[in-house]
């Protein structure tokens, strides 16, 4: 009975993942210590139709921004992507340490390892129509280097 329920749940979730215009996988958020009020969220995004990631929000943070990280002559520079992040059709775009990421700022409380953070991402399709997807991301250790599946 328990097993059946598990399968039903699995089918339901895989179905709902398939139904989403943007598939999100391997998402995680870096843990923080007391007093540290910003961190990064990382994931892989694959859009079924061309889209843009244009905004984010989270109950855990006052501000959520999509950031581009660049190394310029060994200087780390971060800039908010005010025009959004392009998600070309079928191409997996990786938000990972050392690259683009979602910045959670003005955190309301420290994020503990093994807890979960709810993040809502807002996308925009080619016609300019906006849609949102809610994610529930696991918090990984501050020391995580982003062990994405290759």
């Amino acid at each position: 009975m328990k097993l059946n329920y598990f399968f039903l749940t699995a089918v339901f979730f895989s179905h709902s993942a398939l139904a989403q215009p943007v598939t999100v996988s391997d998402g995680w958020v870096r843990a923080t210590v007391q007093g540290q009020r910003a961190t990064g969220a990382f994931m892989r995004l694959t859009a079924k139709e061309s889209a843009k990631l244009v905004a984010g929000s989270s109950s855990a943070a006052g501000i959520v921004e999509i950031h581009e990280m660049k190394m310029d002559n060994d200087v780390m520079k971060m800039t908010p992507l005010t025009n959004g992040l392009d998600l070309p059709i079928g191409k997996t775009v990786e938000l990972k340490p050392g690259g683009n990421h979602i910045m959670l700022m003005d955190l309301k409380a420290p994020l503990a390892v093994n807890s979960n953070v709810s993040v809502t991402l807002t996308f925009q399709d080619a016609k300019g129509k906006k849609f949102s997807q809610e994610l529930n991301l696991p918090v990984k250790a501050l020391t995580s280097a982003g062990e994405h599946k290759r």
């Binding site: 870096r30 210590v33 007391q34 007093g35 540290q36 009020r37 910003a38 961190t39 990064g40 990382f42 006052g62 501000i63 921004e65 950031h67 990280m69 190394m71 060994d74 200087v75 780390m76 520079k77 971060m78 800039t79 340490p97 050392g98 990421h101 910045m103 700022m105 003005d106 250790a141 501050l142 020391t143 995580s144 280097a145 982003g146």
Partner: protein, 229 residues
């Protein structure tokens, strides 16, 4: 300074070579094969020289031995203890700049340093990690104490005053800039992400660019530890 180090390394190599039986054996074989002792001697000396220069200069990081900057500092750590470079004599010092509200570069550099220490094994005790915050307003002693503790409790976080930060940035040729955010507290910091490495005598020797892997860093630190044993 560079020359004196090379001289030390050179004399060290010469001693090794003169004592290496395998090289003598190789000379013997070469002489037999080539039948000309002079050619054999040249061949062997070129092998010896190339292996020596490998040992002396085979750093994976950029060799900045003799640099006239980054000589010292006097900044309080996360426990309020004033620290100078000479406090760490006998240890290879690995120093870099960052801030705790950094989403990935700073934790990645610190995680790599934890790996370096593990790779060094017992020698890891002779390596000192120093993290200088470029964001003293948010990186209070409490925050930095908790942050460093997550990585390695032996690593030291240095918290300069704003005036000391300007001074150390000039002295160490590093760049930092506050980039305002949407709220007063959501600013980010652009900053130099490379690492300075000092030998156990407190001389600045190497610069490692951001992203250098733990094995390469451990390799370089081992060379420095050997040179200043």
């Amino acid at each position: 300074m560079s020359k004196s180090h090379n001289l030390i390394a050179g004399s060290w190599c010469a001693t090794i070579v003169s004592k290496t039986l395998s090289l003598r054996f190789a000379a013997h074989i070469a002489e037999k094969v080539l039948r000309t002792p002079i050619t054999a001697l040249l061949l062997i000396s070129s092998i010896a020289v190339s292996s020596c220069s490998d040992n002396a200069t085979a750093f994976k990081s950029i060799d900045i031995t003799g640099a006239i900057y980054g000589k010292d500092f006097n900044i309080s750590d996360q426990n309020g203890v004033p620290r100078r470079l000479k406090d760490f004599e006998g240890k290879v010092v690995v120093l870099f700049f960052g801030y705790t509200h950094c989403p990935d570069v700073c934790p990645t550099s610190l995680s790599e340093l934890v790996k370096v220490k593990q790779l060094l094994g017992v020698q890891g005790e002779r390596m000192q990690g120093l993290f200088v915050t470029v964001d003293p307003d948010r990186d209070t002693p409490d925050v930095l104490r908790a942050y460093m503790g997550v990585f390695d409790s032996s690593f030291i976080g240095l918290i300069p005053t704003q005036a000391q930060l300007k001074e150390i940035a000039d002295d160490f040729k590093i760049y930092f800039k506050k980039v305002d955010g949407k709220s007063r507290t959501s600013y980010t910091m652009d900053h130099s992400a490379g690492t300075y490495i000092y030998d156990a005598r407190g001389h600045l020797r190497l610069y490692a660019k951001y992203g250098m892997d733990a094995a390469s860093l451990a390799h370089d630190i081992q060379i420095l530890l050997r040179q200043t044993h």
